[in-house]
Amino acid sequence: MTNTPAIELRNITKRFGNVCANNNISLSVQKGEILSLLGENGSGKTTLMNMISGIYFPDEGEIIIGGEEVVIRSPKDAFDYKIGMIHQHFKLVDVFTAAENIVLGLNGEGKFNINQVSRNVAEISSKYGFEIDPNKKIYEMSVSEKQTVEIIKVLYRGADILILDEPTAVLTPQETEKLFAVLRRMRDDGKAIIIITHKLHEVLAISDRVTVLRKGEYIDTVKTSETDEMALTEMMVGKKVSLNIDRSEPKNTEERLLVEHIDCLSREGVKLLDDVSFTARSGEILGIAGIAGSGQRELLEAIAGLQHLEEGRIIYIDPTTKQEEDLKDKTPLQIRNMGVRLSFVPEDRLGMGLVGNMDIVDNMMLRSYTKGNSAFLQRKEPKDLAERVIKQLGVVTPGASTPVRRLSGGNVQKVLVGREIASSPTVLMAAYPVRGLDINSSYMIYNLLNEQKEKGVAVIFVGEDLDVLLELSDRILVIGGGKVTGIVDARTTTKEEIGLLMTKAKGGEANDK
């Protein structure tokens, strides 16, 4: 009995169109064990787990549960095998209460009584130390409350095999610690747990064994006690990480963008940005670090004219005339018409930066199509630009008239960055520009950002990998819970210092150096 894995995957393969998301992957988890599934963004971790939870169906390979080969056609089947998955994007119905979400889809016996459910939920909560109001509507909840609901939902169903997809991405360190305590308790209960992550210290802190994936391929499985961060990184990225990004000393820096005490509210009235102030200088890369969802997106969007500001102002200083312009509450079009050359590579490339169904030429036009007085489009220039970008950045595509949706992630990003740089900006903002990209494409992006910096552009770079932030940026602004928790010199600071600043989100005093 002890040698039969709770769940085992053998030679699983899954393709989407021409993309092979998982190639011939095998792994297993024992009862009472926590397995980390480690890999970079886009390495196929989530796809693999979605096949266990019945969202996708494997093209090839077997799933074996308790020694028996099984077929999981739907999430319903997965529940029957006592598999529960907590997705990265919560699967909750917004207009339902916590209790309603928790019992969703269950065929309980007897009369349906939502109050009884609430009592059961309270019981589970107290057993594991969760704090939750079962009658609160989901759309009124914070992110961590929503995650709690997700976890209780799985426990309520009596899952023996739990899968958590990047559960800590949205949590504060304290919340993460609480979560880990819960996970350990569940492991001691005899549950098999798989946790998807790309954070090494978490792998080492929580798991018994680690399975590493890279670009859809299985690399290896090792015992956590017999490995260390270095070895895992090597497996994860393929070779030893020696980032070696060429960083030049900033030259002729001058103030370009002054962000002064800006506040920004969500639709529900929650403060997303709270008294944020900083200066971006020309010829310098300002890195922005923080836990995902701490206000990075809103900050860039506020500067780009996509967010309404409650308070504060954003001053742009023209490089030639030295004139000051307030960008507050201007639309992107107004900002451009004021002569501010602001480029923005947003996080959501195909949902915001580009139009997936349009070809490369038409996407090149997005920023410039209004030029000229004619009512008709001028496609000559964008076509030349498209061909230039394809050639200079090495975009792999059948041609300039291919819809960008059909390009791979890295090539999509090259098209986007290529276009944004082409307008010779004075300010360049990039949000997670290397997310999902392979190492080579990532370096290409780093070099492009450095090039822009050397040309005297004020570059603002939002990143998630601290190593990259430390080696690429000149200064690093740390944001936590919508507040600036510190601005540090990237050359002298340490990962630990930034990590500390990132996590002092709530209640902590902002100490702007």
């Binding site: 099984v70 095998y81 004219g305 992107p332 079009l333 900002i335 451009r336 997005l366 009512a375």
Partner: protein, 378 residues
């Protein structure tokens, strides 16, 4: 440990999205669906009448091509349906589900009728036609822009809003008909200015419908160019694909929504003018005759491409005329045309699935220890 779980087998059929379909393959699939639909229709007719199916198909073709008069009627119907389809297209391209073309055209009809009745015999035709054009376009625009304003500002559901507007328009027309009744008590308007022909669009080259057809042909070319080559057309595509992208590049989304619906409404207004002043010379609550709804089908089938829409509207008009002919030839109730059109459309709608998705049959397991272990598991 999983004793209580049910043992499942792999599903027999699995559906997955096609990566990309070659355009001609798509059209072959659609073609097959039409052939199957025609077979199904023949089956229905044979069931109802006991006639030879070959004769049924003969009648189908005769409906559109039986005589030169029938060809002209077919072309006229084609032109009108195409005109309304052109009208709904810009909005659809923007993913604005305007199902209120019926009402927008009807308002165009109403405005035209007002001009004909009150000004028809007072103004020279050279002055009257521009006035009618302005009035009908304005009426269509107003009817289209109201839902657009609410949608742009408060995201009011446009499908439901435009649907309701249809009936408000119908009642407005019913209201006016009572005033214009001719003869009294008939509850119809009768032919407007039947003796003086005041406000009738001129007949050119001796063909009653030729002017309508030429106007719609010009509109088709115009809209094709507008959508494909103009800056506004480009904005429509961007807003339709992604509102976020549109905002990111500084497109004023509200303005585009309202402007595009105004264009839709304007073309609807023109359709109303052509219907009343160029064709019927009268107005009733059913003047538009459901074209506002059929047009949605035409536009959607043609993937919102005005050039392809000439083909899809021909297809629908051909089937409709053919079905009417069948009804007459076999002495069936006129409504049989609706049934047959419905059946054919169901087939075409269904065929889109096979263009966009692919079916995977269950694969046999590889031989060897894997299948052996699967058996042991039992």
């Amino acid at each position: 440990m999983t004793n209580n779980a049910v043992k499942h087998s792999e599903p027999l059929l699995r559906v997955s999205k096609r990566a990309e379909v070659v355009w001609w393959k798509g059209w072959i699939i659609r073609g097959i669906s039409i052939v199957l639909a025609l077979i199904a229709c023949a089956f229905i007719i044979v069931l109802l009448t006991g006639q030879n199916p070959i004769e049924v198909y003969g009648a189908l073709i005769k409906g559109s091509f039986g005589s030169s008069r029938k060809v002209w009627i077919m072309l006229q119907n084609l032109a009108m349906l195409l005109c309304v389809s052109l009208a709904v297209t810009p909005a659809f391209k923007m993913r604005f589900w305007n199902i209120g073309a019926e009402g927008q055209v009807l308002m165009g009809c109403l405005a035209t009728s007002v001009c004909m009745i009150y000004l028809g015999d007072k103004l020279p035709i050279g002055l009257l036609i521009p006035i009618m054009l302005i009035a009908s376009v304005l009426a269509g625009v107003i009817w289209a822009v109201i839902p657009a304003i609410f949608n742009a500002n408060w995201k009011t559901n446009e499908t439901l809003f435009t649907l309701m507007m249809n009936y408000v328009a119908t009642q407005l027309v019913a209201f006016c008909i009572v005033f214009w009744e001719n003869p009294l008590g008939s509850n119809t308007v009768g032919v407007i200015n039947s003796s003086t022909q005041g406000g009738w669009l001129p007949v050119i080259f001796g063909q009653k419908y030729l002017l309508n057809i030429l106007v719609v042909a010009a509109l088709t070319v115009g809209l094709y160019i507008y959508l494909k080559y103009s800056k506004q057309g480009y904005e429509i595509s961007v807003v339709g694909e992604s509102v976020n992208t549109a905002k990111y590049v500084g497109i004023n989304v509200k303005k585009v929504i309202i402007r595009t619906m105004a264009i839709s409404g304007a073309i609807c207004g023109v359709a109303g003018l052509l219907l009343v002043s160029g064709t019927d010379h009268t107005i009733s609550t059913t003047t538009v005759g459901g074209m506002g709804f059929t047009a949605i089908m035409v536009s959607w089938l043609a993937k919102f491409n005005p050039a392809l829409m000439t083909l899809t509207s021909f297809l629908i008009v051909f089937l409709d005329r053919g079905a009417s002919e069948i009804a007459t030839a076999f002495r069936l109730n006129e409504s049989v045309a609706d049934i047959l059109t419905g059946v054919i459309l169901f087939f075409i709608i269904g065929s889109e699935f096979f263009v966009n998705y692919k079916l995977n049959l269950r694969k046999k397991h590889n031989q060897g220890n894997l299948s052996a272990s699967a058996k042991e598991g039992k």
